[in-house]
Amino acid sequence: MDLLNALVALANFVLIPALAYGSQLALGALGVTLIYAVLRFSNFAHGDTMAIGTMVTILATWALQSLGVSLGPLPTALLAIPFGIAGAAVLLLLTDRVVYRFYRAQKAKPVILVIVSMGVMFIYNGMTRFIIGPDDQSFADGERFLISARDFKAWSGLDEGLALKSTQAITVVTAIIVVAIVFWFLTHTRTGKSMRAYSDNEDLALLSGISPETVVRVTWIIVAALAVVAGTLYGLDKSYKPFTYFQLLLPIFASAIVGGIGSPVGAIAGGFVIAFSEVLFTYAWKKVLGYLLPETLQPDGLVQLLSTDYKFAVSFVILIIVLLFRPTGLFRGKSV
């Protein structure tokens, strides 16, 4: 019986990774959810927005690095984020101007906008690959670990190591702060409320003196910021590869929806639901039980509920079960 080792193993392989991954999904989901809430469509281009915004950040990071600027133990990319945000914001506003605005004026059905956003996705997709290419790009620098598994073992004398990457810590903290800010912004500021009003009833918003164009512009800028922060943190933690960002879209949508569309807090909850269900249900408990149980009861097999082949399937099963009991998501999202 070795509680400490069991806990550390669990934390190292389940809790920390899932928390970090969940936060990454949450940051992405927040952008999706905001567009859904205010502009009323599922934005398929979000994954590629993240990719293209991160690309700008990377280019800026390289420029900074070549100038010798650094943040010490922190990744230089954090300094470059504002450039990424600016780039993404310009791009999104331009896209809105050229593409989406027309459909808003037409009062087109949301599903049309969904398809239109797929067109935008294709275009962003091509642009990213034109500029930076389809390959993996590494741009992380600074200290990779707050504490590495090896150091932890040495320090604690335990058999199990505990690794905490600096990017994981940054991601979790950022996600929580950003969600709190967005939530506060939407419910407590004039602009935030006008965004919700616009999303609820466009005509009436007009009658209240809310300028739709302002609302839309603010939304895109916030979305740009969210996308770049999410994309950069993800890229720092894992790797930057345009194709992966596109693939992230599905779990991001899943998080946004299971959390309750339009709800910032739901985005976080949704991100964690997806991340934890992927990791928890396919985790092989052998190691942990090995520490907990006496010699005689040691498990022979892996004590794995399902093989990892099914991790996506499991996360979707969990999602469906959640929805069956809470049909509009964990945090009562928009039902419309």
Binding site: Y36, S42, F44, V99, F102, Y103, Q106, A108, K109, V111, I112, V114, I115, V116, M118, G119, V120, M121, F122, I123, N125, G126, M127, R129, F130, G133, P134, L250, F253, A254, I257, V258, I261, S307, D309, Y310, F312, A313, F316, V317, L319, I320, L323, L324, P327, T328, G329, S335, V336
Partner: protein
């Protein structure tokens, strides 16, 4: 009028491909266009007619593909002796415990049923795995590079089309029973999830259809080109037509598929059109417009949703089986949501949702583009760079990235079309 003109345009595009590129290319586009049109009709039935947001199209298409393997490939006797019976037993056991769970949920009292169902689920799952796993291992060990699965029934492949529909119907029924209570995007994500689950099963259950190792060389409803090329009668006819025998054989086979597919499409289209213009169609539109009111006017919304969800899925299943037949192989990892779900949605919306002809048109047009944007993109790039200095870095970079023009071009065309026809090319009247 507009309908006619647009269909003429599509016809012209395909014929143009025939003249400018080759008739083989034209026919291959036509054939996949026909298949796509059927899928689009299925989605249109669910969305355009009933407002059901199904983004699990890929799952049903894949089930159709599975049906082809299960019906038409030859059975693998060693695999059957190794574990066939046991696998069947495990499946029955699994189904039984799910049924038991559902019954318990329905009959037991509120307080206790959660626990009871959980216990049934866990025990059922453990028993299922206990029966299944050894059998799977045994089956997959039978010559894994070539077989390693149970094989199919060895029946004619055309039979697989209706079987694909049935398989899709079965799964659609289960989904419908559980998830159709969800609305819009919540239903969407649930169906998306189920499609992913179907693919996960297809990829990882090797005993079923070899998983990611793919089943290649599926039987065909039409003769093989090489056999035709070898047949003197055929060669004679080709000669008489003034064609060389290779071209003639490839065209012959493709035309054969075109005829088969067209027959299915026309039948489906006629039925869909009849349904749309009947009181049934009116009822469905009413349900789509306002479920609550429709319910109050005596329409059983749940049952109708289930019905139309199954119907639409059946079409996707049939089309999936047709497509796998055309490909001649089942490759589970090629089922990607972008290609098999969202592209179909693009077809429906671009064509004009709620309008069957629109869906068909969208099916042809979008498929045509999907295939032709590659040369179009290259061509555009060629023109764009032709003015630049031969060695300029930009030009080199652009030419190197020319392949990425493919999706970019697709995106631009999509946006341009939707700009001029914001409700689709053939909007619902």
């Amino acid at each position: 009028m507009r309908t006619l003109a647009l269909f003429a345009l599509v016809a012209a595009l395909i014929l143009g491909t025939g003249v400018l590129q080759s008739w083989n290319s034209a026919l291959i586009i036509l054939n996949m266009g026909l298949v796509s049109a059927i899928m689009a009709l299925g989605v249109n039935l669910q969305w355009g007619l009933a407002g059901l947001f199904n983004v699990g199209v890929m799952g049903f298409v894949a089930l159709g593909g599975l049906a082809v393997v299960l019906t038409s490939t030859a059975p693998v006797p060693q695999a059957w002796t190794a574990g066939g019976a046991r696998i069947i037993a495990a499946l029955i056991l699994g189904a039984a415990s799910i049924t038991l769970g559902a019954v318990a949920w329905r009959t037991l009292h509120r307080g206790r049923r959660g626990l009871a169902v959980a216990v049934i689920a866990v025990l059922g799952f453990v028993a299922f795995r206990w029966v299944l796993d050894p059998a799977v291992e045994a089956v997959e060990a039978v010559n894994p590079a070539a077989t390693g699965y149970l094989g199919g029934l060895g029946l004619p492949v055309l039979l697989a089309w209706p079987v694909g529909g049935l398989l899709a119907a079965g799964v659609a029924w289960v989904i419908g029973k559980t998830a159709l209570g969800l609305r819009s995007d919540y239903l969407a994500i649930a169906t998306l999830g189920i499609a992913e689950i179907v693919i996960a099963v297809l990829k990882n259950e090797d005993w079923l259809a070899r998983g990611v190792k793919n089943v290649i060389g599926l039987p065909r409803p039409l003769p093989y080109e090489i056999d035709l090329q070898g047949s003197p009668v055929f060669a004679g006819r080709a000669d008489a037509l003034g064609l060389d025998v290779t071209t003639a054989s490839t065209l012959y086979v493709k035309l054969g598929y075109s005829v088969l597919f067209s027959a299915v499409l026309i039948a489906v289209l006629v039925l869909a059109q009849l349904a749309l213009t009947s009181p049934w169609g009116r009822m469905m539109r009413a349900i789509r417009d306002n479920e609550e009111a429709a319910e109050a006017m005596g329409k059983d919304v749940t049952a109708r949703h289930l019905q139309v969800f199954i119907l639409g899925s059946v079409l996707c299943g049939i089309a999936g089986a047709m497509m796998t037949t055309l490909d001649g192989q089942l490759t589970p990892s090629s089922y990607q949501p972008l290609r098999y779900t969202f592209l179909i949605w693009v077809m429906v919306i671009l064509g004009g949702s709620g309008n069957n002809l629109g869906a068909v048109l969208g099916g042809f047009l979008v498929w045509f583009l999907w295939v032709q944007v590659e040369p179009i993109g290259q061509w555009v790039m060629q023109i764009a760079t032709s003015g630049m200095a031969a060695e300029s870095a930009l030009r080199v970079h652009l030419l190197e990235s020319v392949q990425h023009m493919r999706l970019l071009t697709m995106g631009i065309i999509l946006l341009v079309v939707l700009r001029f026809a914001p409700r689709g090319l053939l909007p619902e009247k």
